[in-house]
């Protein structure tokens, strides 16, 4: 049996169980959301004992070297003795600067951190409420801007989005942890065509990446496809149209499943992309938002000729209610 020590108590792990599941099962509260190794909400640090390699996939080298790991992806082999602590040391206090609606269902959250957060446009962070509720959100801002900007879609019954939309006020304090993710622009190859696609608030990281690439002087075509079910699901449309007018290499293509107009295409996002960019060979692409859509788009673009190393994705995996998806989480 493997055992985990947390705050002076030892907790036994069932065979094949993750550190996160074992601690939650035995009443220890650990921040978590996706339970699939994607959001990095469950970051912990091993102070004694070794964690399996799989528990550190996607972490920055500096974090790995300090023994940080993802509790939901950590299934230590039989006989392991592991001592762990939380990731509190990595959290930065922040306060809400402003809250405003970008559309009927998307809230713009601006945050100011007590100490600066170093990040690349397009990365995401974990937002930790005072009671420990944790969710991941992508950054729509650029690092030199004075506030962090998040785009949060209000979900019916959503714990974090509901709180932000209805109860949170400017001045409220919370913490951020991160950044994480490799969905960002890296300068070089300034003529390479870029393809950015996402649905809903998948626009948040893409909005950052587009502005970052333009600021870096990217000269090749930059295509941005933003999809939604209906026109109400689109947002920042006038900002993006203005940006396209200033930068002829930037092409903004909003699309909806129903209710298209002269300015907004109608049809599935992958069909729109195929119609406008039929041969994306040698392009670089970023795909963000709804999980299944991102994964299916990635497959289609790979089959169309994009190389896996040029395909960057952030799937917005939903949180897992406690007690569900314990055995197959992390099997992505």
């Amino acid at each position: 049996m493997a055992k985990v020590k947390h705050e002076s108590d030892w907790y036994p792990l069932e065979s094949g169980e993750s550190v996160l599941d074992a601690l939650l099962r035995q009443g220890v509260s650990i921040p978590n959301a996706c339970r699939a190794g994607a959001c990095q909400s469950c970051l912990m640090r091993a102070v004694a004992g070794t964690v399996p390699e799989a528990a550190q996939v996607g972490l920055k080298d500096t974090l790995r070297a300090q023994g940080y790991f993802l509790a939901c992806a950590c299934r230590p082999p039989e006989g392991t003795l592991l001592e762990v602590t939380g990731a509190e040391a990595l959290r930065i206090p922040a306060r809400i600067q402003a809250l405003s609606w970008l559309s009927t269902s998307v809230l713009r959250v601006r945050l100011v951190t007590d100490s600066p957060l170093a990040y690349h446009a397009g990365q995401y962070l974990s937002l930790v409420r005072e009671d420990g509720l944790t969710r991941s959100y992508s950054l729509a801002s650029l690092p030199h801007e004075d506030a962090l900007e998040l785009h949060v879609r209000l979900l019916p019954g959503g714990a974090m989005s509901g709180w932000l939309a209805h109860d949170a006020r400017p001045g409220d304090r919370l913490q951020v942890q991160g950044p994480a993710g490799s969905c960002f622009y890296v300068p070089g190859r300034p003529e390479q065509p870029l393809l950015l696609a996402g649905t809903g608030t998948g626009l948040a990281p893409l909005y950052g990446i587009v502005r970052d690439a333009l600021a870096a002087g990217h000269a090749g075509p930059i295509w941005l496809f933003h999809g939604a079910r209906t026109p109400e699901g689109l947002y920042l449309t006038s900002e993006l149209r203005a940006l396209a007018e200033q930068h002829p290499q930037f092409r903004y293509r909003p699309g909806v499943l129903e209710g298209g107009t002269r300015d907004v295409a109608e049809g599935a996002l992958d069909a729109l992309i195929r119609a406008e960019c039929p041969k994306p060979l040698g392009w670089r692409a970023w795909l963000c938002g709804d999980g299944p859509l991102v994964l299916s788009l990635r497959k289609k673009l790979f089959l169309a000729g994009l190389s896996l190393k040029d395909l960057h994705t952030d799937a917005f995996l939903p949180s897992v209610p406690q007690g569900q998806r314990t055995s197959d989480a992390g099997a992505r």
Partner: protein
């Protein structure tokens, strides 16, 4: 040169960089084939591509050492889902096409396919 005879096909093809180039072409063919793509539904494409690369490295005699037992265990769930000779033939066909597309000489292609063929019984759990 006499040393050439001792070199593995893997080395003759160009080692790791050649495998890295081949794996995307090969994996694309496998994914696009409706007859077999459902065996490759794992959403983690990086992981799948890594497996394809390990496979290519193995059948070219490179530094990956699968035992027959690993092959059996690894494919057992797929055999349960109906993996059979027709699927094995399809993958071998894509392997051949990939190597040909990359300009690998016919005798080397034949060698690789012979090695792949030798794994058939283990892959299909017979």
């Amino acid at each position: 040169m006499s040393v050439t005879a001792e070199k593995s096909v893997y080395e003759q093809l160009g080692g790791e960089p050649a495998m890295a180039a081949a794996v995307e072409v090969f994996y694309r063919k496998v994914l696009a084939d409706d007859h077999i793509s459902h065996f490759f539904e794992d959403v983690d494409m990086e992981r799948q591509a890594a497996k394809q690369k390990a496979f290519l490295t193995m059948v070219t005699g490179g530094p990956v050492h699968y035992s027959g037992k690993d092959m059996r265990a690894g494919h057992a769930p797929l055999v349960k889902r109906g993996l059979n000779d027709s699927h094995f033939d399809a993958v071998a066909g894509h392997l051949k096409a990939t190597l040909e597309e990359l300009g690998v000489a016919a005798p080397l292609v034949a060698k690789v396919l012979t090695i792949a063929e030798s794994a058939r019984a283990d892959v299909l759990g017979r």
